[in-house]
Symmetry: C2
Subunit: 353 residues, 2 copies
DNA sequence: AATATAAATGAATGCATATTCAAATTGCCT
DNA sequence: AGGCAATTTGAATATGCATTCATTTATATT
């Protein structure tokens, strides 16, 4: 006896089923392995007996032997952002439907580039022979990329991209989204634009900022005033205050995501007494559920979480089959115009400078 | 060769380390098993060589042999409630600190009592020899309880209780919280009270409702008007409309959680044009971060998520050691008074009927 | 009907490790 | 120095199962 007899569950094993069915252990194993050679009637009989005995193949043993575990590692950073919560919810359901397990681990800070200490638990998770690693709201450190490469674990970045390492990614169209927001704000006749940045190192912020700035420049507008809110509600409260006390107070703020936009809206409305949507326009990104609440009515560029999760799962399957492919999937969104921004004056895109 | 050679990672095993260190496989295993008999210098040498080779014991093989996996199963229902999101975040961090893995699975609807179909993935998760199952915002079905009992998996209900099955639970003090809210509303001089119920079968709702009703009865007040919002934002929008169109429109609503209270507040303010906190009072439960946003200022009874998660992890450890104990831990909260409720007229609890 | 081919089966092996058992080594005391 | 206990060690076994290999049985071909 290896296990503590007081703890050991009377788990029924292949051998028990084999004995009960009067067949070999191999037969029982084959009965649970689709595509293996076993006569249909015998398979049915084994399955029936197994069901009656409450037998299920032990996933641990199976994983050990097969070298893959049907487990997907999911690293998650900031759950304060509802977009990622929604994603996590959808992803957990999608993975269950695909008969995959989800192992969750917290990735404290989004570390980028350098060899900062990798998440301790990550070291461990990699040893579970996970089929893939999905990074949600976490940047990929080169150290982590290297570890995954060695462990042959494909990486999928969700809502992030990376140029340097071979990881797949699923993203929205940040450039288009940011340009669309810029066009919307300019169409509203705004003159002094501001950009409330997220974490500057993240590709997500970089693309949104670049797209926004590029469009403004194309239209002959000066670069926007800039503050950083690090994708955080609290940090954005402070950042917005800094924006609004300026002598050249902006008349429109594009925030790199909705969490930050909600903070900006809160400060503008309750601390500065501004009529958001008339005296100042505020736009966000993601279109989280709260954006449509009457209390906020936040104009935002949507990210299609359902579609993005579907693509993520599709990628997982693709990577499970043929190794060494790496894709970048882009899912377009839509501008959701609500009351937090002044309506556009002209139909169509602004034509003048 | 069992594994596909193109996929197989060059994972370093005990044998590799043993060979490199010139010791037996057993010695290497013992080096990684605290408390096992091995001379200190040899242990150090093995650890050093292992570290250099990048070796870590395979958790799958280890779990298979030991009969326990260091994995905690976490069933999660509704992530729309920020309280559970916060809990999940805290729990994932706490488990990582305790060197435990978190396996997440979605539990679609909170099923209670009857033998409705159990979550399909759950069947599977149980076979991972998980050390414990934590149910977040999910009721315990008798079927699930039975399955866990057979698999020797201890259950911890978070924010729920159950009378029938032997599961441990971590809860706030719902009765006290509801009574405190009731006292607060009566103290504000309200006459026509309403209760916006969550899922009626949940113990959480039952206790809050009972506590609220009991206090009102003790103070000689009639039973509150009642509607059901099923802990859902959308359902609560509709339920609040039903409440507010009544001829005997309530002048105070106690909602069984904050998500519902935010919906009620939204409807009262934006659809009925009511001045919340003056014309009508609305109180919630949980004290989620949004409750303190200036846009809402929701009076709420707090649930100490940090403390509750700590207790959950403590319970996990306790249950890992000695089987067959089952505890109920209660964590008291605090009344957070904000602008959504009329201030109390008198100091101290109301004295009159 | 006889052979060739395909399908079905069981014994044996291995996955990566922890633990038991017995042997070997060490330390200790007189 | 000698004997006994305590400690250290390696070989062997077990975990639960998938897969290979050789063998038996069923199906197709002429």
């Amino acid at each position: 006896m290896v296990r503590d007899p007081t703890l050991s569950a009377p788990a029924v094993s292949v051998h028990d089923v084999a004995r009960a069915a009067g067949v070999s252990q191999s037969a029982v194993s084959r009965a649970f392995t689709p595509g293996s050679s076993l006569s249909p009637d015998k398979r049915d009989r084994i399955i029936a007996i197994a069901a009656q005995m409450g037998y299920r193949p032990n996933p641990l043993a199976r994983s050990l032997l097969r070298g893959k575990s049907n487990i997907i590692g999911v690293g998650v950073g900031d759950l304060a952002n509802p977009f990622f919560v929604q994603t996590l919810q959808l992803l957990s359901q999608a993975l269950e439907s695909a008969n995959l397990r989800l192992m969750l681990f917290p990735a404290h800070r989004s570390e980028n580039g350098g060899s900062q200490g990798a998440e301790p638990s990550l070291q461990e998770v990699l040893h579970y022979r996970i089929d893939a690693l999905v990074l949600l709201s976490v940047s990929l450190s080169s150290k982590l990329a290297e570890e995954c490469r060695r462990a042959q674990v494909p990486i999928i970045l969700y809502n992030r991209t990376t140029g340097q390492h071979d990881a797949s990614c699923v993203v929205g169209d940040n450039t288009m989204g940011a340009r669309t927001i810029a066009a919307h704000l300019l169409g509203g006749g705004h003159q002094r634009l501001a950009f409330l940045a997220g974490t500057p190192e993240s590709s997500t912020n970089a693309q949104r900022e670049a797209g926004f700035n590029a469009y403004l420049a194309e239209q002959g507008h000066p670069a926007p005033i800039r503050e950083e809110g690090h994708f955080s509600f609290d940090a954005s409260l402070a950042a917005t205050r800094r924006l609004l006390v300026r002598p050249d107070r902006p008349d429109a703020i594009f925030c790199a995501n909705d969490t930050m936009a909600l903070a900006a809206l809160t400060v503008a409305r309750h601390e500065f007494g501004l009529d958001v949507g008339r005296e100042i326009s505020i736009a966000g990104y993601d279109d989280v559920p709260m954006a449509s609440w009457p209390s906020f009515g936040l104009t935002s560029y949507s990210q299609p979480a359902t579609r993005m999760v579907d693509e993520t799962v599709r990628l997982i399957h693709a990577l499970r089959t043929r190794a060494e492919s790496h894709e970048e999937v882009q899912c377009p969104g839509t501008l959701m115009v609500r009351g937090s921004t002044r309506p556009v004056k002209f139909k169509g895109p602004t034509m003048e400078g």
